[in-house]
Each structure stands twice: as C-alpha cells, then as structure tokens.
C-alpha cells in the first residue's frame, strides 16, 4: 500500500551551517494517527516545513501518497493540510476570509468554499466571530481559525504542529474528539505535541526525533510497555538521568 507520507534520507542544513534534520527517514501508513515527538529544536517543525514546501530540503526525498513533494509539488500539496505552530496569517483579515482564501488557493470553487467555510465556522464555533479580524480574536479562537484553514480543502494528510498549544481544556478535548472523527473517516494525521497525554490518547504510531534524527519509531504499544511513554521519551532524547529517575 502506498504510504501517506514517505520521507527518505531527508537532510536540512540552514545557510549558517545549522543541521536541523540529519538523514531522517520515516513512513506513515495511510489512515494512521502518527505522533511526532521531540524536544524544542529537535527538527520536528523543519521536517514538517520540508514536507509542506515552507523549507527546501538540502537532500533526500519526500513522497505524499506516492507523489514527489519537490518535483510534483503542486499535486502533493493538494493532499496536505497544515496547521502550523505559529500563526502565519494576515492579522487584518477576518476569520472567514482566511478560511475562504485558503480554499481559493487550493482551487475550490466559490460555492464549494462557501459551503465548506460555513461548515467549518459552525464546527469550530466561529460563526459569531467570523467577521472579526484575526488580531481581534483570543488565542483559542485564533487556533480554531488556523485549524479550520488547514481543513478547508479536506486534505488526505493533515499535519498538526502543536495544535493545542495555548488552548483551554475544553477546546483541547473537543479538538481531540474531532481529530479522532476525522481519522476514523480516513484522514491520515501527523501530530506534534509536547503534551504526551495527548499523543498517548490519540496516536497509534509514535516517532521520537532528537537532534535531527529519528531515535525511536514504532507502534504506540511498544512505548507504553514498561515505564510508559514519558520514560521512553526522556530516555530516547537523552534527558538528564535525574529527570528520567523522577519518572521511573
């Protein structure tokens, strides 16, 4: 079966010589809910940026459902929805415009965009805020807009880079339910998060990245045996023995 995402020997070296991703390979099966963990600066966001076109890979190949994400980037990008860690929007645009314009970039016709935007405004409780400028929204509402934007074109591969950072418990749980629904309906999801509880609850496969390399990768069950995910994470990322001891 063609993987939803196949990354092979990916490296990314920035102009100043910083190696952000170092010979990274990983595969995500279609329909999987994939947790991508690692400390800050480990290379999670850079990997995601290479997959989605925000960064240019230095070497290696990336395929999205068998389509080369560099050579056939337009076809590959049609299949991906990205909710980035940082709010990369025009702060003066309204919530509705942000979602509608993204639908437009992905080639959706006006009627399709209207239907889908209405649906997403409803789903994320944004109806009463849809005409407000992004800068006027609270952190939680902003995060909802970003998620709605990622979903507008109904991507087959949804990439969520810390989607619940800074959101309240209620929205986080609502979002978890929604992501589980999407995943049940066939959307492959790649999730990065610093909340291990979130990853443990949602994901079926987990990969841990440290200093640009995958240091552990496998089904969630493998991480939960023994001392649990937090212990596995701290061990894999080379945390201080005191920290590991505190968990074990």
């Amino acid at each position: 079966m063609t993987p939803a995402l196949s990354v092979s020997h990916l490296s990314k070296v920035y102009r100043r010589g910083t190696v952000a991703v170092d010979d990274l390979s990983m595969t995500i099966a279609p329909g999987d809910f994939f947790g991508f963990l690692g400390p800050n600066g480990a290379g999670k966001s850079t990997t995601i940026h290479c997959v989605t076109g925000i960064a240019t890979p230095t070497s290696g190949t990336i395929e999205v459902f068998g389509i080369d994400a560099v050579k056939d980037y337009r076809e590959a990008r049609r299949l991906i929805g990205l909710s980035p860690q940082e709010f990369n929007v025009d702060p003066f645009a309204t919530a509705r415009q942000i979602v509608d314009w993204t639908g437009g970039y992905f080639g959706m016709r006006a009627a399709q965009r209207k239907r889908r935007t209405d649906e997403l405004m409803e789903r994320f409780d944004l109806v009463e805020h849809q005409k407000k400028q992004f800068r006027e929204l609270s952190g939680g509402l902003r995060r909802r807009v970003i998620l709605a934007r990622a979903l507008v074109h109904e991507p087959k591969l949804l990439i969520l880079d810390e989607p619940t950072a800074g959101v309240d418990v209620e929205l986080r749980r609502d979002l978890w339910r929604y992501l589980q629904e999407l995943n049940r309906d066939g959307t492959t999801i790649l999730l990065t998060s610093h909340y291990l509880e979130e990853v443990e609850r949602l994901c079926r496969t987990i990969a841990i990245i440290n200093r640009g390399r995958i240091v552990r990768n496998g089904p969630k069950a493998e991480f939960l045996t023994g001392e649990g995910l937090e212990f596995a994470y701290l061990t894999a990322t080379g945390a201080e023995p005191d920290h590991i001891a505190g968990v074990a």
């Binding site: 989605t52 076809e75 990008r77 049609r78 990369n88 970039y105 016709r109």
Partner: protein, 259 residues
C-alpha cells in the same frame, strides 16, 4: 473537491482578491494620497508657476508636465504595491499560506503583478480625472498610453518584488526609492525638456531609462517627444523580460521565501 489544475485560475484569482482587499483597507494611503499630491502639482504648475513659463513644443507647461507627474505616480504606486505586498507577507509569515498551496511560481508572480497594474491604472485614471477638471487631460493614443502605464508598472512591480524579497527590515524597503527611483525620475524629464539641460548633462537624460518612460507617455498624451519612442519601448520591454526572468528565478530557488 478541487478542480484539475493546469493553471490554478481560482488560486490566481484568490491572490488578486486578497491583495485588492488589503489595499482597499487603506484607500487614503493607496489612492487618495497620490491623487492629492498630483492635484497639488497640477495646481502649482497650472496656476502658479505655469503661466510664467513659455510654451513647450506648442503646449502649455501644465500639459507638458502632466505626463511626468502621472508617470512618477504610476512608478511609485507600482513599486510601493509590490514591495509592501511581498514584504508584509514575509514579515507576518502569511506568505506560507501560498507556499503550502498548489500554486506555481508563475501564478504567484502573475497574481502580484495584476494587482500592481490595477493599482497603477487606478492611480493614473484618478490623476487624469483631476487633470480633466483643470482642462488638461488629453490622450492622443489610448493604446500607447495603456502600453506605457502597464509596461512601466510591470517593471516597477517586478523590481518591487525583488526588493521585497531582499529587504530584512522596513528601512531597506525605502532604499531603492530614495536613492534611485526618485532622483532618476526627477532628472528623467518630468519638469523640463532635455534641451533645457546643460550640454554636458544631456547624455545623462538619454542614458536614463526614466526619460524613455516619461517621454513615451508624453508622446501618447500630447504628441511631444524628444527621443525615439520605439527605442524607449524596446528598452522597456527588455527590462520587463530581464526582471521577469530574475523574479521567476528568485521564486524558484525560494530566495527570501523559503527557509
């Protein structure tokens, strides 16, 4: 859900819609400012300075100077539109919205340039309306007029994209305008004929591309010319082609766009 893509027309149209929305949020800055500035130029040259200056090539001084004023505003509108458009997208990082979308470089560039041209044409039409109120708006050849407005907008739109990609801060955005565009347009024959210049300075006018832009538009509007419009058009189209290739190349390597 989405339509098959050879050219992503809807994506292209969305870029245009988004930018039009952005500039219509600041109409005073984008349109009213240049129109008021042009109005003041027309008033001063039409009613204060103009009557004291002799006819030039059978034209009143205001008629002579109007194409230059119009061209200066077209150049400014084009350059400011494209620099601000690309720089703000980079600064606020919403350029990433288009980078992750199935848009080709050509579509991104074409979308930006379309808005540049629309803004420049709107600026030019507004100035023409003001000039008409003063009884000096004449266009001898509308196609020639449109050629100069659109071609020169394209040049400065492309140049603005390059500066917008290069600039690391707001200060750098203004460098080209302060040290290159404004001085060259002032010595390119906005306010004077080449024959008014001292002999040793005339070569500077003929070596200045702004002279050909202003001369071409002046020919389209009042039929007065001090140089070859055909040569000027060739210079203009060559600059368009060189800058278009440069911008396409910068987009394709991700200069200023991708990490």
């Amino acid at each position: 859900m989405t339509i098959p893509m050879i050219v992503n027309w809807i994506g292209l149209w969305t870029i245009i819609r988004r930018e039009m929305t952005r500039i219509l949020r600041v109409p005073i800055q984008v349109f009213v400012g240049p129109w008021v500035s042009a109005l003041l130029f027309i008033f001063i040259f039409g009613y204060v300075v103009g009557p004291r200056i002799a006819m030039i090539g059978g034209h009143r001084y205001l008629e002579f100077v109007l194409p230059g004023i119009l061209m200066m505003n077209v150049i400014n509108a084009a350059f400011l539109q494209s620099t601000s458009q690309i720089y703000f997208q980079r600064f606020q990082r919403y350029i990433e919205e288009t980078l992750v979308a199935p848009l080709s470089y050509a579509e991104m560039i074409a979308g930006s340039l379309t808005v540049v041209i629309l803004r420049s044409v709107a600026t030019a039409l507004g100035i023409l309306v003001i000039a008409a109120v003063f009884g000096v708006a004449s266009i001898r050849n509308i196609w020639e007029f449109l050629f100069w407005v659109i071609a020169v907008s394209t040049i400065f739109g492309l140049l603005g994209i390059i500066v917008g990609l290069w600039a690391k801060n707001f200060e750098q955005l203004t460098v080209l305008n302060v040290f290159f565009i404004t001085p060259l347009s002032f010595v390119g024959g906005v306010f004077n004929t080449v024959s008014m210049l001292p002999g040793w300075l005339r070569w500077l006018a003929y070596g200045n591309p702004f002279f050909y832009f202003i001369n071409g538009l002046r020919h389209a509007m009042i039929g007065f010319s001090e140089g070859s419009e055909v040569f000027g058009a060739a210079v203009t189209l060559t600059l368009c082609a060189i800058l278009a290739v440069t911008v396409w190349r910068l987009f394709s390597i991700g200069y200023g766009l991708r990490e």
